[in-house]
Amino acid sequence: MVDYTKEIQERAKRLLEDKKVDAVIGYRQGTVPMMNEPILVRETGKTDQLYWDSFCGVNLANYLTKRKERLAVVAKGCDSRNIIIHLQEGQIKREQLHIIGVPCLGMLDRRKVWAKLGDKEPLLVREEGDQLLVSGRGFEERLKKSDFLQDNCAICIHRNPVLYDELITDPVKEPQRTDRYEDVRTVEAMDSGARWEYFEKLIEPCIRCYACRNACPLCYCPTCFVDESRPQWVGKSLDPTDVRTFHYLRAFHCAGRCTDCGACERACPVGIKVRQFTKKLEKDVWELYQFEAGMVLEGRPPLDVFLPDDPEQFIK
């Protein structure tokens, strides 16, 4: 098994020394365990801060929007797909980018680890193969990594980067086509009133902090619809209809573009499963237009093109 952290550091150092890029975007260890944060490294001396483990869930494509310098970026499967979307939508140029591809084995959900530990506070979290070693005051536990995967990673089918300039190690085996939409179908099977209640419960704790929007690489409008005031399409209050309007529109803006990277869900401070909104759209886009976001550089996003015989059974 290759040491991912060492590989990333060495490659970043070389790129900066050769002056191929002005900066490298990667991850560094956060101040608390299981919370890695993005870092932009400009000096060779600081490349030793770059880090990799199974808590690098932040989508780094989010930090590329409209940048002017030449950048190297560490990219998992989903990050690379979001980079493709950025390229398609003209947010950055291919010549500016050097993509360090990282074959990913799935990111872990810190909330699941916390839940497992109960009131024990983890102070040190290390990885050994497929095990997670969590220790704190007066306890040490060995956990099986695969039990703590983020929900989106558990059903991921594109672990290897789609677009890259170099890969830090051999591609990993892609999982067989798993059932990606089991949860969507469960909701679809309910009647309309039950679905309403389901989503009502789902978004009840929402505090409208917009963390899901901010973590999302797709959200880069100069003025977001939630900040528009004349006309004001989304009320600022915590009235349930305003909260729901926000979630509807946030999801709809991601239609045909969402790669299911899970950044929104990961960022939510109150643990709302916000992917429930985007996944329905992802499923529909696949079923109606056979399109998967960010898989090929050529072509346009599905809402930017049309076919004369697109499905229209719902139109009178």
């Binding site: 679809e188 679905r195 309403w196 509807y248 999801a251 329905k280 759209l281 886009v285 049309f306 009178k316």
Partner: protein, 144 residues
Amino acid sequence: MSEPFEPKIITFLCNWCSYGGADLAGVSRLQYPPNIRVVRIPCSGRLDPKFILASFRRGADGVWVSGCHPGDCHYIAGNYYARRKFALLKGLLEHMGIESGRLHFSWVSSAEATKFQQVVTEVTEAVKALGPAQHFIKKMPEVA
């Protein structure tokens, strides 16, 4: 005895076809239910999902959007883009619990006064059958 339920249906009509169709229906003295409230838009492609959500939020019982038949768009392709947008939007709104009879789409040309009459009737009946909208109405006062 209570009055029968008369729904309010916010209707977005494309200036170049359905709006003309409505006009022709009027000029031809075709009778149709008075439940629609027409908003003229330049093209069905102009319809932003925000408009639909705002209509529901402010108490509409139904929303109906009508544009030109595929191939007849005044702007060549606006309705083709709109069609993809509507398909996904309708799917999402219904997935999240808005009843399927509240949101309607149609293609009505400016010559199809009878189709206009027929669609208004269908839409009104569908919304009437569902009763007044309960879910997506904002109860707090709007503050701008």
